[in-house]
């Protein structure tokens, strides 16, 4: 029953708790004949269908929210890039010995590969946290349909670079000689797409939190 409770929780992200419970009840009744795989397939497809309905019912509103979400993401990325550049600059200077401070044992652990990994993880952590916040902001602007603007923003964020690559013929270069396509997708486009999953989950988690808070006030 614990798994069924999880299914109900998933559905309650895209419909009212009563409807989510009734829908899961139907699927439980059906599972007796159909099996667990079909049950979870039905939960997933029903969630996606309801999410898609939220997107399609008010396309202009969702497009506006997606543009707003993308703008927020760009501003946050810019802020992060600047902050990260400053941090990385300090790190490089310190490592090169241009900044004098006591290099104790803790500092030595931060240098070399460990330091790079730590900075990478910090970067990822900040990215996920900022996505979580963007998800919250978008959800607050779309009461009752909290998750839909996050999906719309992600779709737009994927569509814009794709269009840039298509419109430039994939061969356009920056003045530095780098292909625009390579800068956007890197050497492995599939990996670039997969790397979008954690930020998307963080975005949805932010929206889900707002929805849960709203529901707990309503009921």
């Amino acid at each position: 029953m614990r798994n069924v409770g999880f299914a109900e929780w998933i559905l309650s992200l895209v419909t009212t708790p009563e409807r989510a419970a009734a829908t899961v009840g139907d699927l439980v009744e059906d599972r007796v004949h159909a099996g667990a795989l079909r049950f979870w397939g039905a939960v997933l497809l029903t969630t996606l269908s309801l999410l898609w309905r939220d997107l399609a019912e008010r396309p202009l509103h969702m497009a506006r929210l997606a543009a707003f979400g993308l703008l927020l993401q760009l501003l946050l990325s810019l802020g992060m890039a600047v902050g990260y550049g400053v941090l990385f600059g300090i790190y490089k200077l310190a490592w090169s010995g241009f900044v004098s401070f006591d290099p104790g044992p803790a500092w030595s652990r931060l240098t070399g590969v460990g330091g790079i990994v730590l900075m990478g993880l910090t970067g990822w952590g900040i990215t996920l946290l900022s996505q979580f916040q963007v998800g919250r902001v978008l959800a607050k602007r779309s009461p009752g349909r909290e998750l839909a603007p996050c999906i719309a923003t992600t779709l737009l964020a994927m569509a814009v670079p794709f269009l840039i690559v298509v419109l430039t013929g994939g061969r356009a270069q920056f003045p530095t000689g780098q292909l625009i396509r390579d800068v956007i997708y890197g050497p492995a486009p599939a990996l670039a797409l997969i790397s979008q999953i954690p930020p998307l989950l963080a975005l949805l988690a932010g929206a889900a939190r707002v929805r849960r808070q709203r529901l707990s006030v309503s009921y």
Binding site: E18, R19, A22, L45, S49, W52
Partner: protein, 112 residues
């Protein structure tokens, strides 16, 4: 042109007819079963629930929750009923089909 009258999609008509056929016993599982039985195609749960929600938002069906049952893990059934507006919309849609079919013979189909 009819103007503001809401039109019904083919699957919406199928769902409304299934609910009418089931009377007081129309909820998710039975609606799907009737559709599968009568049309020989089983709709996905997602397609059915989004359609039911849309029909309710249009005011063509209403729903109420029954009592929780142990067979469903203590979860209530959501019973559906076609409203008067739903019946009218369905009648209009069916009349449109009939008018289109009037005097028409489908090649290779007897008694169309």
């Amino acid at each position: 042109m009819a103007g503001t009258v809401s039109t019904l999609g083919e699957f919406e008509q199928v769902v409304l007819l299934a609910i009418l056929r089931l009377g007081d016993e129309a909820y998710g599982v039975t609606v799907r079963d009737v559709i599968a039985d009568r049309t020989h195609r089983r709709p996905t749960a997602g397609h059915l629930y989004t359609t039911l929600d849309r029909l309710e938002e249009k005011g063509l069906v209403s729903s109420k929750f029954g009592d929780p049952t142990p067979q469903r893990g203590g979860r209530a059934k959501r019973y559906f009923k076609v409203t008067a507006k739903g019946v009218a919309a369905l009648a209009r849609a069916q009349q449109s089909y009939q008018r289109l079919m009037e005097g028409l013979t489908l090649p290779g189909v007897a008694h169309a």
